[in-house]
Amino acid sequence: MVAFYGTDLCSRLMLGTSQYPSPKALEAAFVRSGAGVATVSLRREAAGDGTGQGFWQLIRDLGVPVLPNTAGCHSVKEAVTTAHMAREMFGTDWIKLEVVGHADTLQPDPFGLVEAAGILCADGFKVFPYTTEDGILAGRLLEAGCEVLMPWGAPIGTGLGLNNIYGLRTLRAQFPDVPMVIDAGLGVPSQAAQAMEMGFDAVLLNTAVAKAGDPAKMAEAFARALEAGRLAYEADPMEPRDMAHPSTPVLGLAVLS
């Protein structure tokens, strides 16, 4: 069981809800993967003026906790306003905070992120900041009141996997007790398994599932990879070594020098 801000989740898979071929395909992906959280974008998926009620109802009907996000927000003010709208619309104080720093790379704006996180935490939000693997920035976000971190694997929608293994490993080691979700950039399940093996607590995906030829099948593939990766982490894997090490005793041969 994994918990964020005191809420237990039934799965370590957080699944986005945009870009699916149809709402039915979206629902099938959730059912087949047993994803534990549904993320929704207020700005990008639907007009945030109450006219998207049909779609919102569908998200609520998935029966998993909803994590609204501020995707598409380029400034602190926009992100804070969107967070407030999301709280009202979904009745949750969870918010995945995205402050886009660059329109093309969608890289987070670290300065705006810390500022917005401070404002929202002070206002009672439970903030999930979408951040880089930078440890200093992570520290500032925790100081601002965040109790969860969402470092990127790679830029949003790229499918490149864990781009900076060293940086992510360092971040994990630097804050061993902070729940961390690898958010964005994953393309295939092996990358999600790798994140789990490294001790991350959950993974958030959207494009890799929604844009797959068969979204429901891919969602299940990710769910299984997460389970495999987490089991491996808990099983305490062996250390890699350079010299071959026979797994059966070798008798009657000269000992290697």
């Binding site: 039915k24 629902e27 639907a46 007009a47 006219t51």
Partner: protein
């Protein structure tokens, strides 16, 4: 004259159904409080691509299969069509999108720079490869709507704001039918119309882009329709600045000469869709509903009309039925 059926709604679903029924000697009347087709209905804002194979990227086999018959139906209805195929391109940095699109669609062939130049001289030198869907067609939705209306009027079909329901009631009211079809939802689409005599294209061109996919449909005389965004929700309000920027930017990326185009129209509306984005016929004791045409109004209304007529006149069970 006796009336066999009353069709509610003079959008593309209603008109196509009326046309199909009357061409089989059934007599119909149409009721629409907003009158004949116009900017009040989402059919007005459609792209008019009859591109079942391209749509196969994100839709199910039934749309591809039934959509293949659309062009022949429109031709029978006397609507002018262009049989020039569709061209699918990417910007250089997204070229792998073309491989994905090719894997998930059928009836295309990969064309090289030379062939692209031969197909669309104005795109010469801009792309080194593209997918050509030779069998696809396109039409101008507003011309098609007017043609159907004229043909129906000539057959004595009336389009009235209100009238007594006579005969079988066929409900083609789109999103207005949510009162009886609760799983119907709105999907907003936004479009732009440009005038750009400097660019000539003879077929719809789709620009694959991970964030801002675009299609551009030539309407002749240097006029182009640009579409379309796809946003969950039934907001029918004016186009947003963000969508405008995205649409126009994508056009500019397709060809810099679009930078000099005049923006002659910006439009938005919400399209009716069921959760699987596939249209269907719903039978209730009082009515037959034809709805949920989503972004496939001109592609799928012929098949839906034929299905409805087959059921009403011959008792054939519709393939797409709730």
């Amino acid at each position: 004259m006796t009336v066999d059926a009353t069709i509610l709604g003079a959008g593309i679903a209603g008109l196509a159904t009326a046309f199909e029924l009357t061409s089989r000697v059934a007599s119909v009347q149409i009721i629409d409080p907003a009158g004949p087709p116009g900017p009040h209905g989402c059919s007005w804002w459609a792209g008019g691509m009859l591109a079942p194979h391209c749509e196969g990227e994100v839709t199910e086999e039934v749309i591809v299969r039934l959509g293949r018959g659309a062009a022949a139906w429109w031709a029978r209805a006397g609507v002018p069509l262009s049989y020039r195929g569709s061209l699918v391109v990417t910007l250089a940095r997204d070229r792998r999108e073309l491989d994905r699109f090719a894997r998930r669609t059928t009836a295309h062939r990969l064309v090289n720079a030379e062939e692209i130049a031969a197909l669309e001289p104005d795109l010469a030198g801009r792309h080194d490869r593209a997918l050509f869907f030779e069998t696809e067609a396109h039409l101008s939705p507003r011309v098609a709507l007017a043609t159907l209306c004229e043909a129906l009027l000539a057959k004595g079909v009336t389009i009235q704001p209100e009238a007594r329901h006579l005969g079988r009631v066929i409900d083609c009211r789109g999103l207005h039918a949510r009162d009886s079809l609760p799983d119907l939802r709105g999907v907003r689409g936004e479009m732009a119309v440009l005038r750009c005599p400097e660019v000539t294209l003879s077929r719809p061109v789709r620009l694959l882009h991970p964030r801002h996919p675009l299609y551009i449909v030539p309407r002749g005389d240097g006029v182009f329709m640009l579409g379309a965004t796809q946003l969950e929700g039934d907001n029918r309000g004016p186009v947003t600045l963000r969508s405008t920027v995205e649409l126009l930017n994508a056009a500019f990326a397709l060809h810099p000469a679009f930078g000099e185009a005049e923006v002659i129209e910006l439009g938005a509306d919400a399209r009716p869709a069921f959760p699987d984005n596939i249209p269907r016929i719903t039978l209730t004791p009082e009515r037959m509903h034809i709805n949920g045409l989503f972004r496939h109004g001109f592609l799928m209304s012929p098949a839906m009309a034929v299905m409805a007529a087959d059921y009403l006149l011959a008792g054939t069970t519709p393939e797409l039925i709730a």
